[in-house]
């Protein structure tokens, strides 16, 4: 099993913990070089700094009106991603590009528990990093699994572009309230824009393995990038998905056109020159984010609603204002 990680840079405090040593052991078994942070210039996303930092790793993200109000608690044992998607908002959101992980799982556990006690219902993993890619090294999911087993009213969505489902299949049992959601794009988009991620076909296979083992699975076509030929490419993607997967194996599918906060476009231009997906007609929305114009988005969503087997599938929109849901007559 691969993780895309080349180096594990372990800080002294982390090395001195039992969990730190376990992580090192797993990393070494996977052929990942283990060093201390001062032995190398920390400039690669394919390195992971392991620390024992005890700051908060669960953040509540609220949506601005008029986006449907569903605050989400993002669990982030790792901040920073080994993948390198050109559209990733982490490019401006995080100061450091090198992913950093904490060994302090107990603290994260307590934070989640505390939030559940105060009535929080929605949790996600995979906002500040990929939700599965580092699991072969981190083994984080088994640690929090029983929390979600005990609290069936609480939902967890694990988001990923990875194919690392081995640890899940080996160590976890399906839970009704936990869903694994894969983000998919047409192969040409994945190749050019979602650097170092698994090919979409492989992601579909990974999803299928989990679905067949009884885990809840979902799909996110998000971000949808409306470049030249998008229609043909996305239509083929949808066809391929449902040639492989029975819609009944999916809990839901989420659609979301590409959007970005102010300034991310300039960062993308500098970091990935020549990626023209960022040069398009983007206009500012009521939440301050930039999106394709409204009627272009709704026209695109309508196409998807035509292609998808909607009679057997729940479809939702990601980060779209209520009036777009209404335009499309989709129930929230």
């Amino acid at each position: 099993m691969k993780t895309g990680l080349k180096r594990l840079l372990v800080e002294r405090e982390a090395r001195n913990t039992k969990r730190g040593r376990e992580i090192i052991e797993r990393a070494e078994r996977l052929g990942i070089e283990v060093l201390s942070p001062d032995e190398i210039e920390q400039n690669s996303r394919q390195s992971l700094v392991l620390n024992a930092v005890s700051s908060s790793h669960v953040n509540k993200w609220e949506h601005h009106p008029p986006l449907p109000d569903r605050a989400e608690n993002c669990i982030s044992p790792v901040e920073g991603c080994p993948f390198d998607c050109c559209y990733c908002y982490l490019l401006t959101y995080l100061q450091e590009s090198v992913p950093r992980a904490t060994v302090n799982y107990e603290l994260i556990y307590q934070e989640i528990e505390q939030r559940i006690k105060t009535g929080e219902k929605y949790f996600s993993l995979g906002e500040l990093s990929d939700g599965l890619e580092l699991e072969p090294v981190m083994h984080f999911l088994p640690f929090i699994w029983n929390l979600f087993q005990k609290n069936e009213q609480v939902r967890l969505e694990i988001r990923s572009k990875s194919i690392n489902v081995g640890p899940v299949l080996r160590e976890l049992m399906p839970l009704k309230n936990v869903t694994f959601a894969w983000t998919l794009s047409p192969p040409s988009v994945a190749r050019r824009i979602e650097l170092r991620t698994a090919a979409p076909k492989e992601r579909i296979k990974a999803l299928k393995r989990l679905a067949e083992a009884g885990f809840n699975c979902a799909l996110r076509l998000d971000p949808i990038i409306l470049q030249r030929d998008w229609e043909e490419e996305y239509r083929q993607l949808v066809e391929h998905i449902f040639a492989e997967i029975n819609p009944k194996q999916l809990q839901y599918i989420i659609l979301g056109c590409f959007r970005f906060p102010a300034g991310l476009d300039q960062t993308i231009e500098k970091r990935f020159p020549g990626r023209d997906f960022i040069r398009d007609e983007f206009v500012r929305g009521p939440d301050g984010k930039y999106r394709y114009p409204r009627f272009r988005r709704t026209a695109a969503y309508r196409k998807f609603l035509n292609w998808l087997p909607v009679e057997n599938l729940r479809v939702g929109l990601c980060m779209e204002p209520e009036y777009i849901w209404n335009d499309l007559v989709i129930k929230k």
Binding site: Q266, D280, E281, F282, V283, G285, P293, Y323, N326
Partner: protein, 303 residues
């Protein structure tokens, strides 16, 4: 310590405890007045001569007060930081001077972007973002009229922050026009312009430059000319939005509201409401107004 004060009076090199001098924050008024007379000039030792790198603005005005020269053998940023700290005690460093400093560090001292960012935020009060650094780095290349305006604080730094994002050729064209007063732009207009250009595919650049040239060469007054330039670029960058807008205006015109009601769609058509504003002064106008409002129903198809 490699910072050295050179007494201009006798031309001899003598070391002085400049670190204390620089760090001394609470100066007595008397001492401050005394120091204000001494306007140090940052110089670089270039072997046979001491080259003035830059000097406080006040210096030129009061050359009789010429004080010590600061010789900085900058091999490490710490010396630079120290010099700048001293400098700012004596005189504020202008935006243009900051641009010169950053250029010096980048080109002569081969400082990396992250070193520049750090120095910029710590010693020059420049936000540590790449676009800000690039904005300042471009100052010394601006036409001299604009440099002067910057030095005299007659033009906003934010204007250049916005323009700096433009492709070089367009940037040069517009800044030259600004310098020659053939163009007037507010910061907001500059932001609109650079955002719109960012939306356009790179291969459309020659046409945009052509458009800008023709606007700048037109005989219109400056306000009209700016309007034309912005409209032309916006139309290319936001074709669908322009379409919606034109369509909306057309429908509105067709309703023939007799100028009684002003109707506005949501910004960028992102929303499902319309903003109405109207005024009536006579009771009998009210019925006419209601009729006009009813006519507007048809506009809701457009949002």
């Amino acid at each position: 310590m490699k910072i050295t004060a050179i007494s201009q009076a006798n031309g001899q090199l003598k070391t002085s405890p400049l670190l204390d001098y620089a760090r001394q924050e609470k100066l007595s008024d008397e001492k401050r007045a005394e120091q204000q007379k001494l306007l140090p000039t940052w110089v670089v030792d270039e072997g046979s001569e001491l080259k003035v790198l830059w000097q406080p603005r006040k210096f030129a005005q009061t050359s009789e007060n010429r004080g010590p020269l600061l010789l900085v053998e900058e091999t490490q940023p710490s010396h630079i930081e120290l010099t700048l700290e001293l400098w700012q005690q004596v005189d504020r460093i202008s935006a243009l001077e900051k641009g010169y400093v950053l250029n010096f560090l980048k080109n002569k001292k081969k400082s990396t972007t992250s070193q520049l960012k750090q120095l910029a935020s710590q010693s020059l009060q420049i936000p540590p973002a790449e676009q800000w650094i690039e904005t300042y780095l471009a100052f010394p290349q601006l036409p001299s009229e604009l440099q002067k305006q910057l030095q005299d604080e007659q033009i906003s730094i934010n204007l250049f922050y916005q323009l700096n994002d433009l492709p070089e050729e367009l940037f040069t064209l517009l800044t030259q026009a600004l310098a020659e007063q053939r163009l007037r732009l507010t910061v907001q207009e500059a932001r609109q312009l650079s955002t719109a250009v960012r939306r356009l595919p790179r291969d459309e650049l020659p046409e945009i430059i052509g458009l800008a040239r023709s606007c700048l060469e037109s005989k219109d007054d400056l306000k009209k000319q700016t309007e034309k330039l912005l409209n032309g670029i916006n139309k290319r960058a936001y074709p669908e939005l322009t379409n919606y807008r034109e369509n909306f205006s057309k429908k509105l015109e067709e309703l023939d509201l007799d100028g009684r009601i002003n109707v506005k769609p949501p910004q960028n058509f992102e929303g499902d409401y319309l903003d109405f504003s109207f005024r009536w002064s006579k009771e009998e106008d009210f019925e006419k107004l209601l009729r006009a409002i009813k006519k507007c129903r048809r506009l809701f198809d457009l949002v």
